[in-house]
């Protein structure tokens, strides 16, 4: 019996050590964000319920009161409702295992629970609120221009995503909702830079969101989109489909000896 307890303790310690070493390597330092004053005060019932949920899954990495744990998880003080909502509603948090980059995956909480957790995190300190997004109020061509200048370098012209350094990548945007897009712009999750209201005002964000929504179903008048990845799939199709069909034709026309 003692032996078994010892084994369990050792394994748990080992697992924690592994978690610390790998998650710690990827934890980003906290970024200070300008405080905002337009957030309506969160419902205290939500805050309390959020705190209960927080105790269950988040304290290991983010600390008992969101102050962060060195080499494990950043401080959540001042990250704002936008950040919490972004990470939770895309399923990036909670991390299922230590990773170099938090990725979109199956959402772990119901919308009510997310609202509660967001309320709790927002109560920790002033930070960007969940943006008020109105894609219809945005201008498509202006959004195109802003997207090309600010977003396309990492996310590619068609929103297909792209590689950055050190095994980090800019994700494809086809599954992001308008609110999530705006949140990411304001929060700068992970490797993404922060675009504050001084750099991109709310109208410009609306336009960018409108364009990103357009990119989910871009104008493919030319036919099959081939993933919108550019010359690589095009070259592949040219060789395999185009030249392939022609080579089959000459095999049929000519002799084989």
């Amino acid at each position: 019996m003692k032996g078994r307890i010892l084994v369990v303790v050792v394994l748990t310690a080992a697992a924690l050590a592994v978690a610390v070493l790998t998650v710690g390597a990827s934890a980003a330092p906290a970024q200070v964000r300008p405080p905002t004053t337009t957030t309506p005060a969160p419902d205290p019932a939500d805050v309390a319920a959020g705190y209960e949920l927080y105790q269950i899954a988040c304290t290991t990495c983010h600390g008992a009161r969101g102050e962060g744990v060195e080499d494990r998880g950043p401080s959540l003080v001042g990250v704002g409702a936008a950040s919490a909502d972004f990470y939770l509603s895309t399923g990036r948090m909670p991390l299922d295992r230590p990773r170099s980059q938090a990725e979109r995956k199956k959402v772990a909480y119901s919308p009510v629970q997310i609202r509660q957790l967001v309320a709790f995190v927002a109560s920790l300190g002033p930070g960007p609120p969940i943006p008020d997004v109105d894609p219809a109020a945005g201008n498509l061509a202006e959004g195109n221009r802003l997207y090309a200048n600010n977003c396309a370098p990492c996310h590619s012209s068609a929103g297909a995503g792209g590689a950055l350094g050190r095994a980090v990548y800019a994700p494809p945007l086809n599954r992001a909702t308008p609110v999530q897009v705006a949140e990411a712009i304001r929060v700068g999750p992970g490797a993404m830079p922060v675009f504050g209201p001084e750099a991109l005002d709310d109208d410009q964000v609306n336009s960018i969101v409108r364009y990103v929504e357009y990119l989910r179903h871009p104008d493919d008048q030319g036919g099959l989109g081939l993933g919108h990845l550019g010359p690589i799939p095009e070259g592949f199709v040219a060789w395999v489909v185009g030249l392939g069909a022609m080579l089959m034709a000459v095999r049929w026309i000519g002799t084989k000896d």
Partner: protein, 483 residues
């Protein structure tokens, strides 16, 4: 009726003697000899669709404001060239199909050229007396690659504009003459308003004229020397076996033209290529940047891959710099094409074979040539794949650094391994006639007089007296020869 027409022409041009010889001219029928024709017909498609596009394309860098059907670019400033491309795509009826056929045809054209060049190389068709045609062919290859680059850069979209910038910088990196070369060729510091018009002249006038002229020479030389043929029963260095030009070969060739055009037409309408409206206009003065996943068209991919895997080395001495892009961007292609040009003469020197050859080698008959060719192909294939290192990195969720370092190793290892594997495979194929990877599919057996079966030894196939030969039994009935 035909006779009257022929006589009318003959009285004026005296062509009947030539026509009589031409009609009977023999062309060998092997399927691999038609790959060059595929390329030629792609060129025809390029010219026909290209002429159509020139009626609508505006080769000018003047800035215009777009007001057209594509709403996502409404009010955007762009060059007239880019705007005219949008018009072709969205406002000219059948314009998009023409544009896409033009671009698909260019990609397939280059692919067919590579396969054709490989066929000529691996069968030794470049040997005497065909060295001149090899040189003409390599020149056609280089000119076609350049013409493709200029062509897709004309559109002045974000992706191709990035490529023009890279080309400019490579020119700049050439020692001693680089700055002048870049400034004279492109018309000044990058970017400027000159280069679109220049690329247009090159792409529409100068290079096509050279290509068509050299293609004419290529075909004329082929006509004069007659095509090569594979070894086989009844074929010698002094004869030629195939079908006659008229009607057989001509009909097959025209039929191939229709099939090639059909494939290009189907792709041109059904598979989108180069959706420049998604990339947006190239505007280096604004913040618009190159994007992740920027690759050139496939046939330039090997150059881009070389630029990517080249480590950050540079030569700096006595106040001068030989910049890093020079080595993969100018020196590598220079060496590549130099070796290509020189190959028939190099091979002749090393094999001491100065005979004329009208019979082709099977690749296995020349193990060193085949192995060197495969090693070279593997070298350029590694470079070509390296051109997509960031796409591979995001596909496999690994760091681009890791992929790049992997290719830096593979670029040496892969050709070496390929050389030795290929050479030994050729030798074993030539010796044993057994595929080195698979062994024999089966064996031939014969019935012994006592009723059992025994395997026929390939090296000693003499049957026992009275034994029944299995291969005789399976051959289809043929009518007896008529005397």
């Amino acid at each position: 009726m035909t006779r009257r027409l022929l006589r009318w022409v003959d009285e004026r041009l005296g062509a009947s003697h030539f026509s009589r010889k031409a009609i009977d001219k023999i062309f060998p029928d092997h399927w691999s000899f038609m790959v060059g024709e595929i390329a030629m017909y792609c060129l025809v498609i390029l010219i026909v669709t290209g002429v159509y596009l020139t009626f609508f394309f505006v080769p000018a860098s003047e800035e215009v404001v777009y007001h057209g059907p594509y709403k996502a670019l409404e009010g955007t400033r762009m060059s007239a060239a880019y705007a005219s491309t949008l018009d072709i795509s969205f406002e000219v009826r059948s314009g998009l199909v023409m544009r896409q056929m033009h671009h698909w045809s260019a990609l397939i054209f280059m692919a067919a050229l590579v396969v054709h060049m490989c066929r000529v190389f691996f069968t030794g068709a470049f040997r005497r007396p065909r060295e001149i045609n090899w040189v003409v062919g390599v020149t056609l290859f280089i000119l076609s690659m350049m013409n493709g680059f200029f062509g897709y850069s004309l559109v002045d979209d974000l992706l191709s504009g990035t490529g023009v910038r890279v080309g400019y910088s490579i020119a700049l990196s050439i020692p001693i003459a680089g700055e002048w070369l870049a400034f004279l060729f492109f018309g000044g510091e990058f970017p400027n308003t000159e280069f679109i018009t220049r690329f247009y002249v090159l792409h529409v006038l100068l290079l096509p004229a050279l290509i068509v002229g050299l293609l004419g020479a290529h075909l004329a030389i082929l006509w004069r020397q007659k095509h090569t043929q594979f070894k086989g029963p009844g074929r010698t260095e002094d004869n030629i076996e195939g079908s006659r030009l008229w009607p057989s070969y001509a009909a097959k060739s025209v039929g191939l033209f229709f099939i090639v055009t059909a494939v290009v037409a189907a792709l041109g309408g059904l598979a989108q290529i180069n959706p420049v409206w998604l990339y947006g206009p190239y505007d280096p003065t604004q913040a618009s940047a190159a994007t992740a996943g920027s690759q050139p068209d496939w046939y330039v991919g090997w150059l881009d891959g070389a630029l990517r895997i080249m480590p950050g080395w540079e030569i700096r001495a006595w106040g001068h710099t030989i910049a890093n892009p020079f080595f993969p961007g100018a020196l590598l292609p220079g060496v590549t094409f130099g070796v290509l040009y020189a190959w028939p003469f190099l091979e002749r020197r090393f094999t001491k074979d100065r005979e004329a050859h009208n019979l082709l080698d099977r690749p296995r008959d020349a193990p060193v040539r085949t192995a060197l060719g495969m090693a070279t192909l593997s070298f350029y294939t590694i470079l070509f794949i390296a051109g997509g290192n960031d796409v591979l990195a995001s596909l496999f969720k690994v760091a681009p650094e890791a992929i790049t370092n992997l290719f830096r190793i593979l670029i040496f290892v892969a050709p070496a391994v390929t050389f030795f594997v290929t050479r030994s495979a050729c030798r074993s194929l030539a010796r044993d006639k057994v595929h080195p990877f698979g062994g024999s599919v089966g064996s031939r057996v014969r019935r012994t007089p006592s009723g059992g079966y025994e395997e026929i030894d390939e090296h000693d196939p003499a049957p026992e007296v009275g034994a029944i030969r299995a291969d005789l039994v399976t051959e289809a009935y043929r009518p007896p020869p008529q005397s």
